[in-house]
Symmetry: C2
Subunit: 145 residues, 2 copies
DNA sequence: ACTTTATTGAGAATGATTCTCAAGTAACTT
DNA sequence: AAGTTACTTGAGAATCATTCTCAATAAAGT
């Protein structure tokens, strides 16, 4: 999907809920797609302001909630005391490896783990709606100082 | 290990760092062991106060940090916007299944997953220092209303 | 353009956690 | 047992991320 198509999909999703398409909402999604990493509110805030957009933190949080709700973004907890968000369109599912020293976030995905998770939930007759899996490490770089 | 032995071990750990054994510190560990569940600061606070102990939230947080640091407790993030802590002595390692509807926390442990995690870290030459793995579900009870 | 209704920004409010600091207390010394 | 030193404590202020409030603004339909 091209970026334009993704944004159109988002616009459609918004209108579908009798919500309104605004420059701020589009800009947040655009920013998430510009930065494949894991971004926090203030990074997005600084970006948009740097691009001369009039926007408030409140609106960014509100928009991120929308994006998560409609499946365009994922909220993650990296144990830093604040949330990070990542674009979720056209990305394969993955979990995170976080270096406790330098903070670098690497991604991983393991089909076997994914499968076991589903089995565990099935066994207890629960419907899985999501998961969060983080490995905390001292990364290769940090180990070698 | 008996409870007395665990508490003695904690006292030893504390003294070993030139810190002091105080009634508040012991009481927090005691409370964690009284309640095998996953407790948050305010629950502990209410408990200790109910037991006529003079204690402040600040001290509870400070003590929980100590307990985590010395391996007597584990801090976990259940996605509620505050931390929970659990006793970590004499408990087998486990991860958590959290019902997004009723909030019930169930534990699980899967050796295969544990093994894969280690393999993943070894492959990238990182030293694993911890992990957090949560499955978010709608539990059997909630599914059947 | 006009109307309706959702959205916005600013700043206040919230809630969890951390910090400050004077008063208190553990533990060592005699 | 009393004195000394250094770590701890509680109260409340401070902080930080996030959410809320509300009057002003701007989509989208007519």
């Amino acid at each position: 999907m091209t970026r334009k198509q993704i944004i159109n999909k988002f616009k459609k999703a918004i209108r579908n809920e009798q919500l309104k398409v605004t420059p701020q909402r589009v800009a947040v999604l655009d920013d998430l797609m510009d930065h494949p990493g894991h971004r926090e509110c203030d990074e997005i805030f600084d970006d948009l302001r740097a691009n001369d957009m009039k926007v408030s933190r409140a609106t960014i949080y509100r928009t991120l909630d929308l994006l998560v709700k409609y499946g365009f973004a994922k909220k993650l907890n990296t144990g830093e005391g604040r949330s990070r968000f990542e674009n979720r369109i056209d990305t394969h599912h993955h979990d995170h490896i976080i270096c406790n020293k330098c903070g670098t976030i690497t991604e991983f995905c393991n089909d076997e783990i994914e499968k076991i998770q589903i089995d565990i939930c099935n066994d207890m007759d629960a419907q899985i709606v999501g998961h969060e899996h983080q490995l905390f490490v001292i990364c290769a770089d940090c180990r070698n100082n």
